[in-house]
């Protein structure tokens, strides 16, 4: 079984971004970048499927500037076999990303496509579902457990009220939640090995997909700021404040 894992380069989860002074966007210049945490979990899950003998090949793909090759190498250091880089300097919406990935899937014919459920920059939570719609595959989003059973997949999902288990025929799409696994650290020998793994670069035009602009970003502003309140000395004082000042209890 071939597994395709689309991944994204994002601002590191520990960095707090700031809005640009002209309110045109957030300022990402010179910030620490990383593999989106949910994508890292997706790569780890694919690697575990391969280690268990269920997956035969893991292909990672990323769409973006030349810099995304760093994250593709990271994914290969974690265990992916080869990488595809679709080069563009444009910021694409999830729908455009899904269309490009569909073109990749037409060539790759993966049986399982694992996405992170959302990227921590745009927080859209859309690409996996859109890809599943365009390729008419069944989907299981927000997965916390994935089991292969013959030619179907049993997936436990984190839903609002608790957990739900679905069974999907392959080929299928899964998007990962935080508790699916804990990604490993790449070892130094694996980082070295990853440098020699194949990485194909192609242009958006090579895929023959026509993209449209769907959304215009008008401005980006900082959220309403909360200011620190008061530090209290005792529980009694807290209860007094909540009752008589805030009047919330």
């Amino acid at each position: 079984m071939k597994v395709l894992v689309p991944i994204k380069r994002v601002v590191d989860a520990n960095v707090k971004v700031r809005v640009k002074a002209d309110n045109s966007n957030v300022d990402t210049a010179n910030l620490k970048m990383a593999l989106n945490p949910f994508c890292e979990i997706a790569v780890e899950e694919a690697v575990r499927l391969k280690e268990a003998g269920s997956a035969s090949e893991i292909v990672v793909v990323s769409i973006g500037s030349k810099a995304v090759q760093e994250q593709l190498r990271t994914a290969m250091a974690l265990g992916a076999d080869r990488a595809i880089h679709i080069e563009t300097d444009e910021e694409l919406t999830p729908l455009s990303i899904a269309k490009l990935l569909k073109a990749v899937q037409e060539k790759e014919q993966a049986q399982l496509v694992i996405f992170g459920k959302q990227s921590i920059d745009g927080d859209n939570n859309q690409t996996g579902q859109m890809f599943a719609a365009l390729t008419d595959m069944p989907q299981a989003t927000f997965a916390s457990e994935v089991k292969l059973e013959g030619d179907s997949l049993l997936v436990t999902r984190e839903v609002d009220g608790g957990l739900q288990t679905l069974k999907l025929p392959l080929p299928a799409v899964v998007t990962t939640d935080l508790r699916l696994n804990e990604p490993r650290y790449a070892s130094l020998p694996n980082i070295m090995k990853a440098k020699r793994k194949p990485l194909d670069v192609m242009a958006v035009a090579d895929l023959g997909v026509i993209l449209k602009q769907h959304v215009k970003l008008l401005d980006v502003t900082p959220p309403a700021q909360r200011t620190a309140g008061v530090m209290l000395a005792s529980v009694a004082e807290l209860v007094e404040k909540l009752r008589n000042e805030a009047k919330v209890i």
């Binding site: 729908l95 957990l163 919330v248």
Partner: protein, 309 residues
């Protein structure tokens, strides 16, 4: 043109989220239809008919819609889509699962977690865990939106919308196997007026009993940080944050939670925030209205006693 709102429900009752999404829809237009897709869900449809502002309720009642699977639910919405310019759902697990599929099938963008409706095509939504607010304009002929329910007040009851039955049954290849839902007498996180949340500082699942007692003394819901869920103290559906539930109660009490940006993303719109933490440097204090530097194992029993007094 009309607006379609996907009802949020469990086949037995309509979730308050729907009333909040209807409020968002009212900011767009006046012809508002609610789609109730489910199985044996007549009571849900009846409740939707009463929502103020709703002009029609569409019911698709079939076994195939019982589990709200994105695969066929999206296709059902696609069938109805020609009659609508806007399609809305709550940014719940069902809404987030389904609407991107609908949007892709319509070849339009989906706009996630709308916080504010500025006009029929311009919306405000959070990016970067709520550290920035993006004002976006849709250039598509149809707008598919998930709405952050906590950012809108629920529309009142008092409506009397007509009912229409949708006979189309679309099967999914996806099969529902089972579910384990958390059963609780406490209010739901998304709609609670008061939330008491525990973090890694709670130390164990057993210790959460203390927070539950505090919650019960206040009629509150219980929430948690990711660290508390990852450690297995409490189930996943209690997680508050960027990747968990987004809440905005009147009072949020954070106990043994440090205040990571991802956690703040889920609760910083609460009206009043209380933080109880033994570390005076904990970042949570920077956004708390009332802070108490204390060992929670002493402070919580004291707090329960003081509230009951």
């Amino acid at each position: 043109m009309a607006i379609l709102v996907l009802a949020e429900h469990d086949n037995a009752s309509l979730k308050l989220d729907t009333a909040k999404v209807v409020t968002a829809a009212k900011a767009i237009g006046t012809e508002i239809h609610v789609l109730v897709a489910g199985h044996e869900c007549a009571a849900v449809a009846a409740a939707a008919q009463q929502l103020d502002g709703v002009t029609r309720v569409l019911v698709a009642d079939a076994a195939a819609y019982q589990a709200h699977l994105a695969e066929n639910l999206a296709k059902l919405i696609l069938e109805l889509a020609p009659g609508y310019e806007h399609i809305l759902a709550s940014a719940s697990s069902v809404g987030k699962d389904t609407l991107p599929r609908v949007a892709a099938l319509l070849d339009v963008a989906q706009i996630s977690e709308v916080l504010q409706v500025l006009s029929g095509d311009t919306f405000v939504r959070p990016i970067y865990a709520g550290n920035a607010m993006a004002k976006v304009q849709s250039l598509d002929d149809k707008k598919v939106l998930t709405v952050r329910a906590s950012a809108f007040d629920a529309t009142a009851n008092g409506g009397n919308a007509g009912l229409e039955t949708i006979d189309k049954v679309i099967e999914a290849r996806t099969q529902f196997v089972s579910q384990s839902l958390t059963v609780s007498e406490r209010p739901e996180l998304g709609n609670a007026g008061i939330i008491v949340s525990g973090g890694r500082g709670m130390g164990s699942g057993e210790n959460f009993a203390m927070l539950e007692a505090l919650a019960d003394s206040l009629g509150a819901a219980v929430g948690a940080s990711r660290a508390a869920v990852d450690a297995g103290f409490v189930p996943n559906d209690l997680q508050v944050g960027q990747t968990g539930k987004i809440v905005a109660p009147d009072l949020y009490i954070a106990v043994g939670i440090s205040g990571a940006i991802q956690h703040l993303a889920g609760m910083k719109d609460s009206k009043v925030i209380v933080a109880i933490n033994k570390d005076p440097e904990a970042p949570i204090f920077q956004i708390a209205d009332y802070g108490l530097t204390a060992d929670l194992f002493e402070a919580i029993p004291e707090l329960i006693a003081a509230i009951k007094a």
